[in-house]
Assembly symmetry: C2
Homo-oligomer: 357 residues x 2
């Protein structure tokens, strides 16, 4: 498509963190990175895998000024069945990256190229994929505007980059419920905005509310819609699900939240299991009512980093609502086990989600 | 404050564009730039003026992923009275940059340092300040997150950069009215969001609507509030003013628009002149009504780039509203002449807006 990927090997190589070493998240990076240039008229060109190294950008590069920057996040796993390295649903990240590109007036990438290029990069750095249970190789593709020029407009040049980071299991010793603050002052996104794109600017917009939530002992913020401040949107970098009685509910893709790939996977699993799951508007008032009636059975977040994250309590103004007595719901645990089982190769992958390198 | 500014001169120097050469906007950059590092625990340090050159950043630098990037824009002029170079209201940009920093969880800069550092940089590159009427040296300060690490949180490291670009008068041959599209689908910002910060992400969010407006023959978009889609906000990178009958109205600083420094200057001038000016909510319905009653006398945008920009027509759905028959209002022209007169040194600066280098 864009020509063959040229490979310049990193001959030195860095020390791979030892198995007993704490990896954290996004702290270590592998030996190589993928780069592809875009220029108006010429398209995407010169795909290359090169030693991981700083990027050199003009101080007038538009990414610094006008925020054309979108990214993705996915993971590769060392699978216990065959010992192969496999990536979770990379085609979905390719599609979503293009939706982000489109929204921010950035050029689309060929989706097959996206997957193939990531496979090639992960293959080359395969020894960096951790083997510890639950650990994985986090893959971070991103696109940034590189034209040097001021004046608000789309850049005529871009750089597509993929970097890799070995990361720990989010929950090292079993799932741990988190406290969530329902945010009723700050907004992250609004209908007509870019909340459904994975754009860098959305995250900067979320940091202040996030910091205030931490001060109140909450790990994350649950956003309300910016217009009515009534309907639930998503949590930090996770989508959110509630089980009220027998119904599982997740906010519909209203245009202001990200279409999570974990969210989609969870919905598919629930459907397969015959558990009623509804994508619809859900208000904080409905949650409060369910809580008071004793039917708010479970709540959890879903995202690539944590996979499934049980919500132990919701703080809404002065009101603290504990869920499952702050423990872990049965369905939450079952979903976590199912998704991580498929990812690690300990459960069969009947949906073809895993892609070998 | 942060230690003395170390200066490393650019011994080669670039060719300065000739007087008859078209400068455009933000296309040429001067010989030097200012850099200051920030590190948690250490604060801002190592201020230095160095030859203009690419920045080297880790591919995991947070600015690329989570959008912590804020900027300012101001101008230095070659003044016709004494031949001095003077900067327009830099103290106001220092204040606004800090409001942006604060909103995006970024470290504040000492405001006196901001002004002094810019003075020093402009002084060193003073020969780049164009002398042509209306031309100026555009100053672009910005702050970006430089910590290498993934995971959504505030960066622990930042870089403050100032670059300079000689720019043409926006209106080379007298003011020229522009057509504006009133945007009723896309949103740029919302109450509780970061629309009142000069954050890079806000501009990426505006590009698509901007491109669609261009297709309809409009130069810019006039945003409506994202909640009711009823009240006027601002235009692209300008604030907006309307004269209805004898009253001049500009949207109040609701939290979702930028507090323009030109806007503030215009309000001060109007007050001094005894022209009634009101900062308040103003709806598109009110504009349509005034248009139909024949009392919509003038409309203009205000911003550092164009100073004052007459609006010749507003397109609102199918409705095209011409203002001043597509010509230039008397007050619009008078304000343009007054501000540019003070900036160029041809009119007295009774308010102390101009700061010598
Ligand atoms: C804002 C936001 N919402 C939801 C998600 C979950 O998406 P996914 O399941 O694809 O990781 C993420 C993380 O990527 C996110 O950043
Ligand atoms: C979004 C936005 N609104 C308004 C303005 C006008 O502000 P100022 O007059 O300070 O240039 C600008 C330009 O800086 C802007 O980017």
């Amino acid at each position: 498509m864009y020509g063959t990927i040229r490979i310049e090997r990193n001959e030195q190589g860095k020390a791979i963190p030892a198995a007993e070493q704490s990896l954290g998240f996004g702290r270590y990076f592998t030996d190589h990175m993928l780069l592809v240039d875009y220029e108006e008229g010429k398209g995407w060109h010169d795909p290359r895998i090169v030693p991981y190294a700083p990027l050199s950008l003009d101080p007038a590069a538009m990414v610094f000024h006008y925020g054309q920057a979108v990214f993705e996040g996915l993971k590769a796993y060392h699978c216990v069945d065959t010992g192969e390295v496999r990536i979770f649903r990379p085609d979905q990240n390719a599609k979503r990256l293009n939706r982000s590109n489109e929204r921010l007036q950035m050029p689309l990438l060929d989706e097959d190229f996206f997957v193939n290029a990531i496979q090639a990069l992960v293959r080359l750095d395969a020894k960096w994929v951790p083997q510890k249970k639950g650990a994985s190789l986090y893959i971070r593709p991103f696109v940034i505007a590189t034209e040097a020029g001021l004046g608000v407009r789309s850049s005529s040049r871009y750089l597509f980059v993929v970097i890799l980071s070995p990361v720990e299991a989010y929950y090292d010793e079993g799932l741990k419920p988190i406290n969530i603050l329902v945010e009723n002052h700050y907004a992250r996104a609004v209908q007509g905005g870019i909340g459904d794109a994975k754009a860098a600017g959305n995250y900067a917009a979320s940091l202040k509310a996030q910091a205030l939530a931490k001060e109140k002992g909450c790990a994350q913020v649950l956003w309300l819609d910016a217009i009515e401040k009534a309907h639930l949107e998503e949590v930090g970098s996770m989508n959110v699900f509630f089980r009220i009685g027998r119904e599982v509910i997740t906010p519909s893709l209203s245009g202001s939240i990200l279409a999570g790939i974990t969210r989609d996977s969870i919905i598919q699993l629930l459907c397969d299991w015959g558990v009623p799951v509804t994508e619809r508007k859900i208000s904080i008032a409905e949650i409060v009512q369910a809580y008071e009636e004793g039917t708010l059975e479970e709540a959890f977040g879903t995202g690539t980093a944590a996979v499934v994250s049980p919500i132990g309590s919701l703080l809404w103004g002065e009101k603290q609502m504990d869920i499952q007595g702050g423990g872990i719901g049965e369905l939450t645990q079952k979903l976590y086990d199912a998704v991580t089982g498929i990812q690690s190769g300990s459960l069969p992958d009947s949906r073809g989600w895993m892609v070998s390198c």
